[in-house]
Symmetry: C2
């Protein structure tokens, strides 16, 4: 594969040798964590292929799209409205932020006490390892946390950046600020793509993104079955790929997978036995290929049936109201939908704990594992609150704080195994 794309990667100014090494590690990692799973679903072939070709075929598609005049918009956050990006005939992709890369270089530009995700996207750029970052015409940052907000100041010296300000509360004046940000983003897109966002185009784009969310909602509902028909690792991968792949293709493939899952459920064919402890994973986003904790959990005798996370239900729970007809109504619908996001960046963010409790009931979970990226302050604060509230409600919870290194794997295993033993029915 590497030879096939070497010229393309070279043109993107990647560090070819280091990139080859990265892909090799990623491949081995994927093999161990994904391909080794028993009773693999047919529908996962698509995801295996996408993942295998994530730096290959997908980048080639982006390249061809660029040659056809389309613009590539990179993001790190679910606050960037993909509806607008698509309506401007641009392509929105998530950027590499899930593995240790260029860490030493990154730590010269941002504090060591920064979360691994932020260090990673800076490091990927400095080490020239992310073909998505290198393909972007514009990268959208947001002010969701101090770490990202300030890191984007440095990042903007290396990539073309645009910042969206996400408010910190949800009052009327916050909505006004956010609406203004959404409109500014629309203008920015129109300016760089030279495409006018019309009501027609936006209506279509809203539908496309809603359909993607609906497919993921359908998938999440199917996981309620006991025994559950799909591993948490696979669903995490699906959520991760949802940020990279073409939305129409992705939606079609996920719906096909859901058909397969429905058949399995009818036959009561689970991915694990009926009495396997069911875990709700909650907390910080897990960007590709950050599969460390899910792998530990699922190889310790439990199964993950929900991800309360940006790369999970936080991104798919709410749809944009499709009844809007005028452009302004559509913008309002987008503004309102995105302000429903229960990110820890908001204060007081009471919705999130309600969502966790209702997910816990719906998915009939045996315990919650809260995942915090070391030095992520907003989620670290909420993890203490959530722990206290869930304990009061007699919902078992384990709080994990970690980063992308493999040094703590054995220690995490011990803690996770003890927790799973405790909650095993």
């Amino acid at each position: 594969m590497n030879d096939q794309y070497a010229a393309m990667w070279e043109k993107l100014n990647l560090d070819l040798e280091a990139h080859d090494a990265l892909l090799e590690v990623l491949g081995k990692f994927y093999n161990d964590i994904y391909l080794s799973q028993e009773k693999r679903l047919r529908g996962m072939e698509y995801l295996d292929f996408v993942l295998a070709e994530i730096h290959g075929l997908r980048i080639k598609e982006l390249k061809e799209a660029k040659e056809n005049g389309q613009k590539i918009i990179g993001t790190f956050c679910i606050f960037v409205p993909e509806e607008l990006t698509l309506a401007a005939n641009a392509i929105q992709v998530g950027l590499c932020a899930g593995a240790e890369a260029g860490k030493e270089k990154a730590e010269k530009l941002i504090p060591r006490n920064t979360c691994a995700l932020i260090k990673s996207f800076i490091g990927f750029k400095l080490a020239r390892l992310c073909p998505f970052t290198e393909s972007c015409d514009l990268i959208i940052g947001e002010t969701t946390c101090d770490g990202k907000k300030k890191a984007y100041e440095v990042f903007s010296q290396y990539v073309p950046m645009y910042i969206m300000e996400v408010p910190q509360q949800k009052y009327l004046s916050d909505r006004e600020l956010w609406k203004n940000e959404v409109l500014k983003y629309k203008n920015k897109l129109e300016h760089i793509t030279k495409n006018k966002i019309t009501p027609d185009k936006l209506k279509k784009a809203i539908k496309i993104v809603n359909e993607k969310r609906k497919a993921l909602q359908r998938l999440n509902k199917l996981r309620k079955a006991i025994p559950t028909p799909i591993s948490g690792r696979d669903v995490l991968l699906i959520n991760q790929i949802s940020f990279y792949d073409d939305p129409l293709r992705f939606t079609k493939k996920i719906n096909e997978l859901c058909n397969e899952l429905e058949e399995k459920i009818k036959k009561q064919e689970g991915i694990v036995s009926q009495d396997t402890p069911r875990i709700l994973l909650s907390g910080c986003p897990m960007a590709v290929p950050n599969w460390k904790l899910p792998y530990i959990i699922e190889s310790s005798g439990a199964i993950i049936v929900g991800e309360e996370s940006c790369i999970g239900t936080r991104n798919t729970r709410d749809l944009v109201d499709e009844s809007a007809e005028t452009l302004d109504e559509m913008i309002d619908a987008i503004v309102d939908r995105y302000l429903k996001i229960d990110c820890a960046c908001f204060t007081p963010n009471l919705e999130r704990i309600e969502h966790i409790i209702s997910l816990a009931k719906e998915l009939k979970i045996d315990g919650v594992i809260h995942y915090n990226l070391l030095f992520c302050q907003p989620y670290a604060h909420e993890s203490i609150k959530i722990e206290n509230i869930l304990r009061e409600k007699n919902i078992p919870i384990l709080s994990i704080e970690t980063d992308y290194s493999m040094e703590d794997v054995e220690q995490l295993k011990t803690r996770v195994e003890a927790f799973i033993e405790m909650i095993t029915p």
Copy 2:
């Protein structure tokens, strides 16, 4: 002293024993760091008295004010407009946040990876050690950093809280949001004090706070003299006291001190010799009694001639325009003045580095020491940027990251001494 006020402290529900121990440590600390200084200024007697009576006489004044129907408003941030507080006939005071107190208790409610200042105000409350916090009718939080924003959620379970949202950029829509926040604060004040804020009252209050800032501006200008007439420790203390004492009394006393300094300057009487290396201290706020680093610097043969900090020039640089006549004009003047604050919470916050460079020139400094509270992300990010820019400009800089513990004092001394040796002319 303790006996005299014991009944008052008991009524405030302080932990008397622990509070006595705290005052004893504080007294010793003050003696070592302040009273031991040579060539002490007459004008510092006022500050020695205020500091000695900070939990005594000043709290008694607040108590009497409360008995006369005045409300006490506590703050942790220079974004809370004291003009409005005074115009509502309320008293604004800073709250204890500068020493380790109740740390273990605090770490059960907020993450360990939280800066010492935040841990301190939570700890002071949980350990019942801050008579200011206990005297407050309302405490105003703000959304300036993730740490405080999320810690206030917990803090609000223990004290009456109100949150002001500080925007993260400085565009028109940010100003609108901030103006709305200022107006909401005005309404809140009118509601709890039952006093209407009239143009007359606000005009007077604007003048009072401006006069306080002017006195501090005057003080800072006098420090330009070579040799400088006052120690940095003393000016830090003055800045700290500016958050606690009655503004009219404070302004009068600081102006008297400035008169004394002018005499000294005329006679070329410095607090140190002419060739003492001059330091600009820049970075995180130093709340009472956080004198660790200034003491290390000034006992290592250098003198601090400027504090680029919230408890320093950031709070005093800008005045509110006094030409406004209507209430709305005055509100606008307040809104604009506070949006000039160059806090690291803003992105990109380019003003701050400009201010540092111009301060460095004005004060004829030999080097900058940047002070970062461990885990304060916004200032940690800026410290790297500032270091790079100052190095390009050949302005020596030393970056220090520390907290309130005394464990690193020897290590800090070694680093500071080496830096001072390097920059000694």
